[in-house]
């Protein structure tokens, strides 16, 4: 039986979201179970673990997880908890090790998760069943072109089925260049006092806030800051006009994409975009050959925000991968990894890394604005009466535009289609009886290639 009336909490017909979903601890507990314990969650990128013994720590929901490449070169993930008393067996964020040793009684596990050492074992235990006391594995771990995902649900669909049509867009990031994707293997991390859903839908779909909330940053950065243009992404510096031509917000059954479709505006906020744009144009024939004209010409190089439900954003142009880890109903951690093409010249990679730091690092010129209203939205819901209010995301409702790629497209960056898609998906996941019910019907992989080339 469903614990809440989700049709009331998220009303798709009227595009309303009851504000209690950002505040209620009971709803949050359900999210940990229904969403974070059943969806595929992003763990990291294979390039972060090149050698046997390399490990990183991350979170799946609020579960602390170790991802490690074993001596046999296989990547596994485990709960970071000693099977004796539950103490964390790893306190480092990453590195290289031969074992994980608990600081409480010294139980030690190898990089394959086996219990390898128990101090005084012979003296204090009779026939200790070590085999049953290895680190608890994350039961599912799969890679999509180097992007590692884990899932706690044994009976969830495969990663490929879970991702569905969104892979058509992810491929632009992973396949456009010969060497593929490179991730800067250390994330920025910031803790913000707000609800985790707010930064997710902000990043995947809120083009409306850019010119207003970030007005200070927008007037000193990139094309406007250096006087080349009076707008960025069609949005004027003083928020007096918007050119919606070309750009689209696409809602698929589980995930979303926002993209400018002009092949170059991903770099509009860069102070020094030319070396990156030159690289993009040099590589474009390769992208077209590999992915076809639509993606090679229109998606590659565009500002593109790929939202993978629930908490992963892959953002081309700004060039970072972002994960929002929930930390209770009123707190979350933002992890931001810089990303670039592995075969880019070092100088170009440097320009991209600088840009990530300058815009959306912890001291980023734009980052500083978002945390504030996300906190404020969450905390206003502390009031009982305010919590009965409903938020309204009705912009662009009913506006459709023809689109040859997967998903349903709505015109313009200033649109709330992706945000509506996110909350509809949230409701589906919360209501789903089993892990298969979380995803909607995606186009079968074989058909997808035929339809979209």
């Amino acid at each position: 039986m469903k614990k809440f009336d989700y049709q009331t909490l998220v009303d798709s017909q009227k595009a309303l979201q009851q504000r209690s979903i950002f505040w209620d601890p009971a709803i949050y507990e359900e999210e940990l179970k229904q969403i974070f314990n059943r969806c595929w969650l992003f763990l990291g990128h294979e390039t972060q673990l090149p050698q046997p013994g390399d490990f990183i720590r991350t979170y799946m929901g609020e579960d602390d997880v170790i991802v490690v490449r074993g001596k046999d070169k296989v990547i596994r993930a485990f709960l970071n908890a000693c099977t004796h008393r539950g103490n964390k067996v790893c306190q480092a964020e990453g590195g290289n090790t031969r074992s994980f040793t608990c600081s409480y009684h010294g139980w030690s596990y190898n990089t394959e998760g086996d219990l390898a050492g128990v101090p005084l074992e012979k003296e204090i235990y009779d026939n200790l069943d070590r085999a049953s006391l290895g680190l608890v594995p994350v039961p599912r771990l799969e890679s999509y072109k180097g992007l590692l995902f884990g899932c706690f649900s044994e009976d969830a669909p495969s990663l490929l089925d879970y991702l569905g049509d969104i892979t058509w867009y992810i491929d632009v990031v992973t396949d456009s260049a010969k060497g593929g994707l490179e991730v800067v293997g250390t994330p920025y991390r910031t803790e913000i006092p707000g609800n985790w859903k707010l930064p997710v839908e902000n990043a995947i779909g809120d083009g409306y806030h850019v010119a207003w909330a970030h007005a200070g940053a927008m007037s000193v950065l990139g094309a406007i800051g250096n006087g080349r243009s009076d707008n960025v992404l069609g949005i004027s510096a003083n928020n007096t006009g918007v050119d919606q031509a070309g750009a689209i917000e696409v809602v698929m059954n589980t995930h979303t994409v926002l993209t400018t479709l002009d092949g170059q505006s991903g770099y509009a906020l860069y102070d020094h975009p030319d070396p990156v744009l030159e690289h993009i144009e040099k590589n474009r024939p390769q992208a077209i050959e590999k992915l076809g004209a639509l993606r090679g010409k229109q998606l590659y190089g565009s500002e593109t925000h790929i939202g993978v439900f629930p908490n992963l954003q892959i953002i081309q142009g700004l060039n970072f991968i972002r994960i929002i880890h929930p930390k209770g109903p009123g707190k979350f951690e933002v992890w931001t990894y810089g990303m670039c093409e592995r075969e880019m010249p070092e100088e170009t990679k440097g320009i991209i890394q600088n840009h990530v730091r300058q815009t959306f690092g912890p001291a980023g010129l734009l980052e500083g604005d978002d945390g504030d209203f996300v906190e404020s939205i969450t905390h206003s819901a502390a009031g009982y009466a305010t919590r009965q209010m409903k938020g309204f995301l009705g912009m662009g409702m009913g506006r459709k535009v023809p689109w040859d790629g997967p998903g349903e497209a709505s015109p313009g960056l200033v649109n709330e289609a992706c945000q509506r898609g996110f909350y509809d998906q949230w409701r589906r996941a919360m209501e789903a009886a089993d892990a298969h019910g979380i995803i909607g019907e995606a186009t079968p992989v074989a058909l997808r290639e035929v339809r979209h080339g």
């Binding site: 050698q51 480092a92 590195g95 991390r189």
Partner: protein, 183 residues
Amino acid sequence: MANAELKLAPATLVGKVGFELEWAINQFMTLEARILDEERYTDWLGLLTEDIRYQIPVPLTTYRRNRASTTALKPLFIIDDGFSGLKQRAAREATGLVWLNDPATRHLRMVNNIEVETTATPDEFLVRSKFLLKRGRREKDIVSHAGWREDILRQTAGGLRIAKRTVHLLERVVMDKNLNMFF
């Protein structure tokens, strides 16, 4: 008191720089903190050399045996700016379009444990200091950041100027909505 290092350290420091310059540097650091507290960013830019490098590294949480880039974890900077980058940050603050600074933000910086050393360059001094920065907004939105800094101060015709600053913070996970302030 048999520790040789303890006896040695103050003698080398005091002897090489001299009380008068140490005091001048001490006053310079205090003035700089007040200029930033008063949001006088143009004045603050005037205290920097044009070739300044300003860095805030992320303190990675790695095992001691894994230090110094022995693994795939790469060093990361929260800020790694030259003069133009700092100027851009200051310009954003001055636009009047940063909504969270209105009502006005309140700043308080305390700088102490100042140590001055000579360097291989006669006009440049290595200055170490510890700081506590508190920022208050609205009713009770108060955050604190404590850390230490390693600066290179240069004696120029116009007076002392900051030629390099490295800011070391304590927290790996930034416990603040943003670090849009100068340390």
